[in-house]
């Protein structure tokens, strides 16, 4: 199990290399890196410039939920290694927010599992984004499309 919730940035290359080190049965690693965007896509006014973002989280429950999501991925797909790193605190546009990675002998399993991790994480891990714009701070609203993305894994049999 590899779940980390931290304020610090992470080194994607080093993390992915460490994930597969010593296991030459791994055929590939699918990963996703989420970045802070400078435009608030879900804002009601639309397109406001975002100067910074603060990620609040629920210490303890966050790690617990991420571990549950990882366990679900491991139950659904044949994975050799899984990694989720999620940052909290104040971040600037272009900063890395999250890294999800799945290593498997099979590329389809790696891709599906990694996508699943991101979709579930988006709707289940207790993080909340507050954006700073010229008009002040505001909480990012949850997106219906994220609920839909998570829901499609409920009925899917990989």
């Amino acid at each position: 199990m590899a779940i980390r919730v931290q304020a610090e940035d992470f080194d994607v290359g080093a993390e992915l290399a460490a994930l597969t080190a010593g296991n030459t049965a791994i055929g590939g690693v699918a990963s996703f890196v989420g970045l802070v965007r400078d435009i608030a896509p879900g804002s009601q006014t639309g397109g406001d410039a975002v100067g910074a973002m603060t990620l609040e989280h629920y210490p303890g429950m966050t790690e617990r939920q991420l571990a549950a999501i990882e366990a679900e991925a491991r139950a659904r797909w044949p994975l050799d290694a899984v990694l989720i790193i999620h940052r909290h605190g104040r971040l600037l546009p272009g900063d890395r927010i999250v890294l999800a990675a799945c290593a498997s002998a099979h590329r389809a399993a790696a891709f599906e599992a990694c996508w699943f991790l991101m979709d579930w994480l988006k709707t289940k891990a207790p993080f909340w984004k507050q954006e700073e714009t010229a008009e002040g701070s505001r909480w990012v609203a949850a997106k219906d499309e994220d609920d839909a993305a998570a829901a499609r894994w409920s009925t899917r049999t990989p």
């Binding site: 429950m61 927010i97 988006k122 709707t123 289940k124 909340w128 984004k129 507050q130």
Partner: protein, 83 residues
């Protein structure tokens, strides 16, 4: 019972956590929210739209019919927006 608030629920209520004695007649998470909403305009405002209030008990998501015990850690927060 420890109650935690996050994101705009925390901001509207004006605190991140509080310790409350489980009041008589409060058996479930739904009862707790109804009772909290009666405690003042800040609570009433924060809890006005129950559809956007998520509840966790002891760090697991639960529904509004979840039974409560004295030592529980209850958290109330809006839909999550991480990732």
């Amino acid at each position: 019972m420890r109650i935690l608030y996050f994101a705009w629920l925390r901001a509207k209520i004006g605190m991140s956590e509080e310790e409350v004695a489980l009041p008589a007649g409060v058996a479930t998470t739904g009862d707790l929210i109804t009772w909290l909403a009666s405690r003042g305009p800040n609570y009433a405002d924060a809890l006005a739209n129950r559809a956007v209030v998520k509840v966790a008990v002891n760090q697991d998501y639960v529904g509004l019919d979840h039974p409560l015990a004295a030592g529980d850690e209850v958290a109330l927060f809006p839909p999550v927006t991480g990732g």
